[in-house]
């Protein structure tokens, strides 16, 4: 009788073991779920919303300006989890051009982000170095020099990462008599030798209230860019002294400033 009972118990253990194993989620792509994620960029100058050809803004050095153009590349987006691991958006879907002149471009919609909780968001302001060396067949969409609103230097092959233009009474007039400021920041580090690299990675901590992504959720991340920081940043920029910076060593200071102008809001 006891022998029979032992056998029954043994069989019971085996069956439950098999049952537990079969209840585990099988690994493999068919089993992971994913969901969408929306990243919304908004632009301010200090406490005021940014309007193109709109109000006059002030720098913290007593200079004033209006804005006529703001465009920048957001690329190579990654989402980090609590354990430090990251989901890197595949490159073929990770190049975006945000243009204040076209508000629709300020909303980036990612799909197929693996289900999970994310505590960090990072992106590159600009186009990564490797892409800058690729052939014309690898430059589609916003990477196509004919479709990216002039965000490309054709005479010094490379993308312009950040364009910020406007007018300022403190800016000395350019040869055409215009008191403008023009900041075009590019330079990816060079083709055949090491040269200036103005690429900057922005890392934002999402904090306690982690971003929850899944098939039934529609999470939104709001990223605010304070363009006032372009002047008031770690490298002070005076419109009266350096109103026009393009291919110049001074562009590194502008890049350092705008790299720190992004914050997460509403979270």
């Amino acid at each position: 009788m006891i022998q029979l009972l032992r056998v029954v118990i043994l069989v019971f253990w085996c069956l439950s073991g098999i049952g537990m194993i079969s209840c585990q989620q099988p690994t493999g792509p068919e089993a992971t779920t994913s969901g969408p994620l929306t990243i919304r960029f908004s632009h301010v100058v200090g406490s005021l919303p940014l309007q193109l050809n709109g109000p006059t803004y002030a720098t913290n050095q007593g200079e004033s300006f209006t804005v006529t153009k703001l465009s920048y590349y957001v690329t190579n987006i990654a989402l980090t989890r609590r354990d430090g691991s990251a989901y890197i958006v595949p490159q073929d879907s990770s190049y975006f051009l945000v243009r204040a002149a076209e508000p629709a471009t300020q909303t980036i919609r990612l799909s197929n982000v693996p289900t999970g909780d994310y505590t960090g968001l990072s992106f590159l302001v600009g186009v990564d170095s490797l892409r800058n060396t690729k052939g014309i067949s690898d430059r589609k969409g916003v990477l196509d020099p004919a479709q990216n609103d002039g965000m490309y230097w054709d005479w010094n092959s490379g993308y312009i990462f950040f364009k910020f233009e406007g007018l300022s009474p403190q800016a000395p007039a350019d040869p055409a008599g215009s008191r403008n400021f023009v900041y075009h920041v590019g330079l990816f580090g060079g083709y055949t030798m090491r040269t200036q690299n103005n690429l900057r990675t922005v890392r934002l901590a999402i904090g306690e209230n982690a971003l929850s992504v899944g098939p039934t959720q529609s999470p939104v991340v709001d990223v605010q860019a304070d363009l006032g920081r372009v002047f008031n940043g770690t490298t002070p920029v005076r419109l009266s002294e350096t109103p026009r910076i393009m291919v110049s060593p001074l562009s590194a200071g502008i890049a350092d400033n705008y790299a720190r102008m992004f914050t997460l809001i509403n979270r």
Binding site: T133, I136, R139, W155, T192, T195
Partner: protein, 369 residues
Amino acid sequence: MRVHYWLRYLFVVVAALCLGVASCQKETGDPPTPALPATPDPKPVEYVPTPYPWKKPTNFPDPIYDFTKNPLTYEGVILGKALFYDSRLSKNGTISCGFCHQPAFAFAHTDHVLSHGINDQIGPRNSPPLQNLAWSRHFFWDGGVVDLDLLPISPIQNPLEMGDSLANVLAKVNNDPVYKSRFKTAFGSDNVTSELFLKAISQFMLTLVSANSKYDKFIRKEGVELTDQEANGLQLFTANCAACHSGPMFTDGQFRNNGLPPNQNVLTPDQGRAGITLRDEDKNKFRVPSLRNITMTPHYMHDGRFRYLEQVLNHYANGVQDSPALDPLLKRNGQRGLQLTKQEQKDIIAFLYTLTDYDFLSNRQHHPN
């Protein structure tokens, strides 16, 4: 004689049979037509372009351009040539690539100090010739472009040259049914993208190979001999010039300063390579040009300051100015420039004449139709 009734019936039956068979036949000679397929053939007729037999000259190294990403076809080359000579690629329809890059002069803007572009504006630099581009690592005097496929965007969009935008030029090409059909033939698509447009122009430019000068035939031992003066010039060239103007391309492709004094006649000094790299050590350095077809491509230097080769040789012998940027090869043994007598300078020039490739200059396939 009475005909038997059964014979009459037999006749009718046989006649009927004959008529029936006859009516079943079509006109004589036609085979029976097959039934039409139920669905149309899903594969449309595809045009297969003809590979262009691009050959590397035997005395040249392997090309740098990656032909696998843009295999040459006759259709692509001829289309690229049409674009090259089409002045609609400029804003007001007056400037084509061929305007500054003239085939009879190795695709340089000969007799021009500086090129004039759209609306007669003058640029800051002398247009270089277009030859042997498959072997170039850098393009332009300052090496600002590395990929031949990306080069045309620059002159098209330069406000002093063609004054247009790539987007606008593509719109013009896409509005031209003749171009659309030619792109369809060459690349299989009549949606002319940046990629196809630029690759077509590259295909034509890659065919501009100059390797048949007197010097080339001499080097390849094709039964051509140099004169005594030319041979002496070659020896002097090898000893004095070939360190920079090296190899079959007559350039090492590097950026160097050759002691030109600052040009007093320009408003803004030309930074040369430093305008691209922002490195101090690159100030006033320019790409060493090839010397092939040099007799056909005056003026000389990045700013076209010299009209005659005699002036160039005189500069190297007597005019080299020292500066931190001056190339070490021009201050050897504590002496500035090259130690060349007047006669030696003449001999070198005689040698340079052997680099003229008349086949290349007169090749009808490169000239506009």
